[in-house]
Symmetry: C2
Subunit: 199 residues, 2 copies
DNA sequence: AGATATCTGTAGTGTTCACTACAGATGTGG
DNA sequence: CCACATCTGTAGTGAACACTACAGATATCT
């Protein structure tokens, strides 16, 4: 028995195109027509490969998360908690204003509030944002064990603070804030981190 | 000549209902059917009074902005820049987790990215967020003139930082962060503000 | 080469969307 | 009480939506 006609498009390249559309217009603002055009495929190919619009989003998020994990490994690989925070904040400022991507972050632009029937989308995005916060917290727990953070420093709070600031930077970036503006925010936040870290 | 049949519903009360729906589901996630049901009116009444879905959003935002302005007057009415920052951060933490409202802030939940044809919506929301930032900046400019802020303190940067943090808090609130979590973020941010303020 | 399994492109499907035509209701001004 | 202006409720409108039936194309496996 045969194995069928092979797929004529590169699924990963297509996912990158889809990611860009979701990022730019949000989940609900994106139409299948826009996706199929950006991916250069027809609807049946999209549905055969990804199941549904939401399935496509999840596949795109998986790809996004893969890259983000690789990036986070580099970030938490820094030798001190301070340097982790610095890299996290500064590289976020740069990534969110990288002209190669839409402004902001897919995990925020994708949609904080959705309509009936898509309630799962904001939840899915939130879960992936939480993942980043968890990775930071774990790194700070380790730092505390290494006496790299003060006795009274709270790893969970530090991680949550950094997560909040970068989410806020997303909002600013989506309304046109430039790289320098975000870097200034990052710099101020880093000082706050230092204060808390030595507590 | 007569003046016509009077409107049978209270427009302001209806706007409050509409505001809640937009806040909970975002602009694109909200349907006219949901709005008319929440407002307890039929589509023709909605369109006669507000012109379009986008017109209704703007009317709801005007009402939202009115309240926000009153609140901001109270905030910038504090006697010191530090107290302005403290009120701004702490009351944001409380407002965004007030069970009387949907979580977060309408100006963020409403939609950061929208589909083709609704590009104006994120723009409108961003303009109203910027307004808050402007009000803070003006207050800090005054504070600097009063030597309430250090020689090297940058009012625009301080306002932008506070604005970014509260936007980040919105994102956290929308994914279920509780009041204490937001207050902790606010407290850390306030220390950063203090550092910058005395510069 | 033939049978089979899967993909691709065309051309739709039913549903839901924002929005409205129309007729009857209800007020005001004369 | 009558003419008129505006609102209200019913019942739709065309357009856009996510999604798919189907037929032909193209690969693999025997």
């Amino acid at each position: 028995m045969g194995m069928g006609r092979p797929r004529a498009f590169d699924a990963d390249a297509a996912l990158d195109r889809a990611m860009d559309v979701f990022w730019r217009h949000g989940y609900e603002g994106t139409t299948i027509a826009q996706l199929t055009e950006a991916m250069s495929i027809n609807p049946p190919s999209l549905y055969a490969a990804f199941g549904s619009k939401e399935g496509l989003l999840k596949a795109a998020l998986d790809r996004y998360t893969e890259r983000r994990d690789a990036w986070m490994e580099k970030v938490v690989g820094a030798s001190t908690a301070r340097e982790v925070a610095e890299r996290f904040l500064m590289e976020h400022a740069d990534a969110q204003t990288d002209p190669a991507n839409p402004p902001g972050c897919l995990l925020v632009q994708g949609g904080l509030a959705c309509g009936t029937g898509s309630e799962n989308v904001p939840f899915e995005l939130a879960a992936r944002r939480t993942r980043t916060e968890d990775q930071l917290r774990e790194r700070f727990v380790r730092a505390k064990g290494e006496r790299d953070l003060g006795e009274n420093a709270d790893p969970a709070m530090l991680a949550r603070y950094l997560s909040a600031v970068t989410s806020g930077m997303c909002v600013m970036a989506s309304s046109g804030a430039d790289r320098n503006a975000l870097r200034e925010i990052a710099a101020v936040s880093l000082k706050a981190f230092d204060e808390q870290a030595k507590a």
